[in-house]
């Protein structure tokens, strides 16, 4: 379904929103990524799962440019971005959130999002006018917060928010960048189950044209959101398939033995 060929000007299948070929990263003898071939289709809802230390977050760091790969290529819409800096990749629409909340804690929720919108529009370095006079940017950031139900917290410093709300701000800051590819690194990590529903709903309501990669330990969440699942073990892809295929796979069951087996 997600793979249905979207023809581009009559040529062959369109390039993936994000693709890696032979992506490797090693720290000395430790391989955190080992020849990863991965495709994230346009509009995908794709989950990346695997046991602790499988290299899931390292994969995100490689794709966003926080880590430099030892080998391999990263393509966005068919264009090679392997050599680009982090900021340049964000301009291409590669946006991430963080497993451990990584926000401007002393600033208000609205200002967190405003910073992102302002960088996206290329006016983050302006000196010639006050930041508070840019109505359009503040309005856009506020509208985004409204759409996530965060408007009541918009003028509070992030550090005063409950952790579950901070996880939503994580997503809000990323959305302020209008991503084409959104990498959600354990969006519900550390959130009590009573509140994780809001995060699932938020992800479900993301615009359909964004390709979403979700890294998650919570299997309920994965099986509810993902249409495809990739299992990563020790830096290498073990298997990729639809949720039913993955939950039926013997190797996956073995890897997860002792942990919560997929339903």
């Amino acid at each position: 379904m997600a793979q249905a060929a979207v023809s581009m000007a009559g040529t062959a299948a369109a390039p993936a929103a994000l693709e890696t070929t032979g992506l490797c990263k090693s720290f000395g003898a430790l391989n955190v990524a080992c020849a990863i071939d991965f495709r994230l289709e346009r509009g995908a809802r794709h989950a990346l799962i695997g046991p602790n230390g499988a290299g899931k977050t390292s994969f995100v760091n490689l794709v966003t440019g926080a880590l430099v790969p030892s080998a391999g290529r990263i393509l966005v819409d068919g264009a090679d971005i392997t050599g680009l800096a982090q900021a340049a990749r964000v301009k291409r629409g590669i946006v991430r959130t963080f497993q451990i909340t990584t926000l401007f804690r002393g600033l208000t929720v609205l200002e967190n999002v405003t910073l992102a919108v302002s960088e996206r529009l290329g006016s983050g370095g302006d000196i010639h006018r006050p930041a508070g006079s840019r109505r359009a940017i503040i309005e856009e950031a506020y509208a985004l917060l409204e759409s996530l139900g965060l408007q009541d917290d918009s003028l509070r410093p992030v550090k005063e928010l409950a952790y579950g709300r901070q996880r939503l701000v994580e997503i809000a800051v990323a959305l302020g960048l209008k991503p084409k590819v959104l990498l959600l690194d354990e969006p519900a990590a550390g959130v009590p189950s009573s509140e994780s529903g809001t995060i699932v709903e938020t992800i479900e309501r993301l615009p359909a044209d964004i390709a979403v990669l979700i890294i998650e330990h919570d299997m309920d969440l994965v099986f509810r959101l993902a249409r495809r699942i990739t299992v990563l073990v020790q830096g290498a892809v073990l298997v990729e398939g639809t949720p039913p295929e993955i939950s039926a796979d013997a190797r996956v069951r073995q890897v997860y033995l002792g942990e919560r087996p997929p339903a």
Binding site: G124, G125, G132
Partner: protein, 332 residues
């Protein structure tokens, strides 16, 4: 950051954002105090001029330390560069002070840009040590280049012409006082403009969370370098002010003590609050004077002890403590 307005609509949010950069009544106070000091202490104007120049130096440090979160122990590098630039000009026949300030700003900015381009690639302790090394190296250059700088004896023979060709630098420091006050005012306007601009807010973002700034596509290195260069220029102007008003430059303009003292002054006042230097510099000078009167030998010890107490119990210095006091009063 108390929220008086409960207007949680987009209009309310825009209003609160816009309010932040508006001038407030208390921002007139430093200038009123400065003007009244001119009348109240006619015998201390030369000292007053030095205090005003030091406030500008503190203001420049606040941009990198308080806003961009770059901890530096070598800010005297730029102060001294500005002082020597203005000093050398005046010693070689270019005594016009305002153009001297501009040259000093350009020289210090150049040093800030070139050294920043190298050292701002590092962070934390490494960066701290590199700022220290840059200043130490310049200090040594000034010390060794005897024929140009006068070395340890200091730069002699500066002749500074009247300001605007009209106001001669007098023995009582009247001209010096107004000259420094005027330049400080312009420097403050520039700083105020910067910190409330999108650029200034993005520096705050870098301070609050650099990883996230990268993740939202901000060119962090460039932002830090621009801030460092602007700060260096302001520090250079401050050094030039002291050189021109005292008509002398010694190597201590580049010394570690100057970098350390301005850092302490700013911490006493409060960093990242625009007014930290306005309070911290005079506060330090007064305390130094009082401590030296009480205990002429070990006054530095008391300054040190005070600093430990401020850092442990009065986070945010004088302004931070004032802010918390106000919040506490409001809550009652």
């Amino acid at each position: 950051m108390a929220l008086l307005s409960e207007d949680r609509t987009v209009a309310g949010a825009i209003e609160i954002f816009a309010r932040r950069h508006r001038f407030r009544w208390y921002e007139v106070l430093p200038w009123l105090v400065a003007a009244s000091c001119y009348v109240a202490f006619p015998n201390y104007l030369a000292l007053g001029a030095q205090v005003l120049a030091a406030i500008l130096f503190g203001l420049s440090l606040d941009l990198v330390l308080g806003y961009a979160g770059i901890v530096t122990l070598g800010h005297a590098a730029f102060f001294g560069t500005g002082a020597y630039a203005a000093g050398l000009l005046a010693a070689h026949g270019w005594g016009e002070p305002l153009s001297g300030l501009l040259v000093a700003a350009a020289a210090a900015a150049a040093v800030g840009f070139v050294t920043g381009a190298v050292i701002l690639r590092t962070h934390g302790l490494t960066l701290l040590m590199q700022t220290l090394m840059v200043a130490t190296m310049l200090h040594e250059v000034a010390n060794k280049a005897n024929s140009i700088t006068g070395g340890a004896d200091g730069l002699q023979g500066m002749v500074v012409r009247p300001v605007f060709g009209l106001y001669r630098f007098d023995l009582f420091g009247k001209t010096a006082y107004w000259y420094c006050l005027g330049v400080l005012f312009i420097g403050w306007l520039v700083m105020r403009r910067i910190v409330f601009s999108p650029f200034g807010r993005s520096l705050t973002g870098v301070r609050e969370n650099e990883a996230r700034m990268h993740a939202i596509g901000s060119p962090v290195f460039r932002r830090r370098l621009v801030a460092y260069t602007i700060s260096a220029a302001l520090a250079g102007v401050s050094g030039a002010l002291i050189a021109q008003t005292t008509q002398f430059v010694a190597t201590d303009a580049l010394g570690f003590e100057r970098s350390g003292t301005i850092l302490i002054m700013l911490l006493l006042g409060g960093i990242g609050r625009l007014y930290g230097a306005f309070i911290g510099v005079p506060l330090y000078m007064i305390l130094q004077d009082r401590f030296a009167a009480i205990d002429p030998v070990y006054w530095y010890f008391w300054i040190g002890l005070l600093l430990v107490v401020v850092v442990m119990f009065f986070r945010g210095g004088a302004i931070g403590t004032g802010e918390r006091l106000l919040q506490w009063l409001r809550r009652r």
